[in-house]
Symmetry: C2
Subunit: 455 residues, 2 copies
């Protein structure tokens, strides 16, 4: 029996004989008896196993080491000890797989750097048991939200021949024998007959599906070959990109807010013990922070209003806030504190935003939105998309983009164009916020970063 089933039915199982199999997380053998802190990883809650001297092979069992896998037959009982409500009185303990003394994951505090170096074992550590279960719960909550709201889950292509967004930061994908190339590359001989790369966003393709199904979302990996070794950059990460036809920026923000609150609530409910663990050991106040997010109405202000507030603030800025310019981390922080909660900043200067965003009538701004969250900065970004063919075409020409290669994208504005909007959320950014873990490398099972591609 797996522990998740045991905990679900523990009241019924009291006094019953059961079998469990799992790993020794910690072993405290005594002269006359012993305690095993036991887990099979299906629940963050471990099971205490108690055995007495009269058990078969007592002398062998006391020597079982941390990390070993065992099978235990015993009776579930209410525990009188501290720290647990139930314990398993063992009748028989069988070793399945031994674990040598040099097992790197001992029951003590290891540094996160060290744990990264044993990435294939770290999911067994308490912190990562919590983090990766929360990653799973959050992912399923995202699917539940969109599935129950009539969105079609759309798998955007990962390999792409279009390099419209930031060509310099894309990974190239090839089957050419690059060890044998001599300064000349014939892409006709490459696998796809042309130069191909890994996608940085599924949005443009999602727009094609939004003009067919009205409500769609992607949830898949995206890639960025950015040479940044920071706590928040990874080369491979998962993104959620919803796209909605007949939807303006206001409705877009409604969905962003509702979805975020749903996912956070779902994690608080469905990963309660994991969150309590993190609240205790990782970020004191974490649960309160998230409860506040769920119960707060998000503020909506324009970029211009934000700059005015920043300019009027009695603060000595490192970067002076300016109309028409981007805002810095210090400004983001101030603004969420000013409004005591999450803030949607809308109508950004068009020159610092992407080509596809809807041009506002002022000629200066676009219908873009960033969500700034206390303690996390920008958590999502979205926009209404430009649905007017001529305006989009002109903007692309202005930015010297290849309009021919993007004809299909432009054509969405020719064949029954509709107002539509969407947004993107980096899944790992959300997880950093939810778990309190600081480094993106610690919320990704096997992180890929510059110079690092292990396991």
């Amino acid at each position: 029996m797996y522990l998740d089933e045991l905990w679900k039915n523990c009241e019924k199982l009291i006094g019953k004989e059961i079998d469990v199999h799992g790993w020794i997380r910690n072993h405290r053998p005594q002269k006359e008896f012993g305690f095993i802190d036991f887990s099979d990883g299906t629940s963050v809650k471990h099971l205490q196993i108690v055995y007495e001297k009269k058990i078969e092979n007592f002398e062998k069992i006391v020597a079982f080491r941390n990390g070993s896998s065992i099978m235990v037959k015993g009776t579930l009982e209410k525990s009188e000890g501290k720290g647990q409500d139930y314990e398993l009185k063992a009748k028989k303990i069988t070793l399945i797989g031994d674990c040598p003394e040099e097992y790197p994951l001992q029951p003590k505090r290891h540094s996160l750097e060290f744990l990264r170096s044993i990435g294939y074992l770290r999911p067994r550590a308490n912190l990562f048991q919590a983090v990766f279960r929360i990653r799973s719960v959050a992912a399923l909550a995202i699917h539940e939200y969109f599935g129950s709201h009539g969105f079609v889950y759309f798998h955007a292509p990962l390999i792409t021949a279009s390099d419209c967004e930031g060509a310099g930061e894309m990974f190239q994908v090839t089957t050419l024998p690059i060890e044998k190339l001599n300064g000349e590359v014939d892409y006709k001989k490459d696998f796809f007959g042309k130069k191909a790369s890994l996608t940085v966003s599924g949005q443009l393709q999602a727009e094609t599906f939004a003009t067919a199904f009205s409500k769609v979302y992607t949830f898949g990996p995206t890639f960025r070959a950015e040479n940044s070794n920071t706590k928040t950059h990874a080369s491979e990460f998962w993104m959620i990109e919803p796209e909605m036809a007949f939807c303006d920026l206001e409705k877009d923000m409604d969905v962003m807010e509702e979805m975020l609150k749903f996912v956070v609530s779902s994690v608080l409910k469905n990963a309660k013990e994991e969150m309590e663990f993190l609240d205790k050991f990782q970020e004191p106040g974490l649960i309160e922070k998230l409860n506040h997010l769920v119960s707060t109405k998000f503020t909506r202000v324009t970029h211009e209003e934000v700059i005015t507030i920043l300019k009027q603030a009695d603060v000595k800025w490192e970067f002076a806030p300016e109309y028409g310019c981007d805002i810095a981390r210090e400004h983001e922080k101030y603004i969420t504190e000013y409004f005591h909660g999450p803030v949607f900043i809308t109508n950004w200067p068009k020159d610092i935003k992407a080509f596809y965003m809807k041009q506002n009538s002022d000629g200066k701004t676009v219908a873009a939105v960033d969500l700034e969250v206390p303690g996390a900065g920008e958590l999502m970004g979205g926009s209404q998309r430009e649905e007017d063919y001529d305006k989009l075409f002109a903007r692309m020409v202005e930015l010297r983009m290849n309009t021919e290669e993007m004809e299909w994208y432009l054509n969405l504005r020719k064949f029954g164009t509709v107002p539509h909007s969407g947004f993107g959320m980096g899944f790992e950014r959300l997880l950093i916020y939810i778990t309190g873990v600081e480094n993106i490398r610690d919320v990704i099972p096997y992180p890929r970063t510059p110079g690092s591609c292990d396991f």
Copy 2:
């Protein structure tokens, strides 16, 4: 209001005035009135819109073309016409986005080849409205199955530096300036400091998580640079790879069977109208085929038993069945017909299976399983994994694999090894089976195949 909401509440909405927005799928204007076959893509069920001569701008409306987007205000009524239960009596119809005469997607039968060439528009066609909604429903059903059975959803890395499985068929991932290389490649200067590729399977990494969480699954993209232009090969496809600790081959098959039945039942229930459409136009008998799958107990036979049956069969084989060898498509077909349903074939000759499979005591076979399904051939493959360090090591040496690079994988057998099993299911292969669509290019939003990487 989106149509999915309208259909959910249509009884309550009768006689009420509502707004809808969507596209003209077909327009039949008459002298005194007109009919519009209308859809916003949120439901496979279209809405019939009826307007009369007295409507504002009647002369303009009759000229609205297929593919145009419109907003309609009107009253929902029971329809007396054939083919629909409800219709919207329009009070006002507004053009949102025009659509020119040359719109390639007219309401007539187009070839699948032609529709692939307009991949960004084909999701608007009826067939793809059904197929891609089923893709979404099936994906969510997979998450629902594993989520409700205590599995942790695990995101396997896509970029990998390990090339243990079929090096020749992997895409290389690089940021080296390949146009400028001159026969010498220094991988220390590549993005990850070593040669990197796109993964062909997340299984090995999933095993590391299974020895931490017991029950895990991946659901993500995998890649194969195989130069095969067939109906069943794509270079980028999605795989589901569950992995379970404390699980032998029998339990593995239990999960395979239960999961498949759950997903198929879920599609039959939650995409009822889409399935009826496909049953009518794509594969007559489709629903009956799937109902049979759901209600049949799958047969379990060994590879050896299968060869004996094939040898005894009164059939002139193109490929003679032989003990110790793989079986051909004609054999798969015969065997599912022989047993009147899906068949698990177990204990395959070790030389035609992967290195990590558990070696049986006969010294000749491994604890592998393939699921053969009537009309689809092999739908899933799985195995119990070799948990014995020495046996696995010896097998890897025998196959001249790099054991040093794979030390982490071997170490799972050193640090508390456990019996564990898993399987893989190609998501598109499942979709071909469920939808009756024959070509893998038609169940992937934007397929990538040799020489083809469009949109």
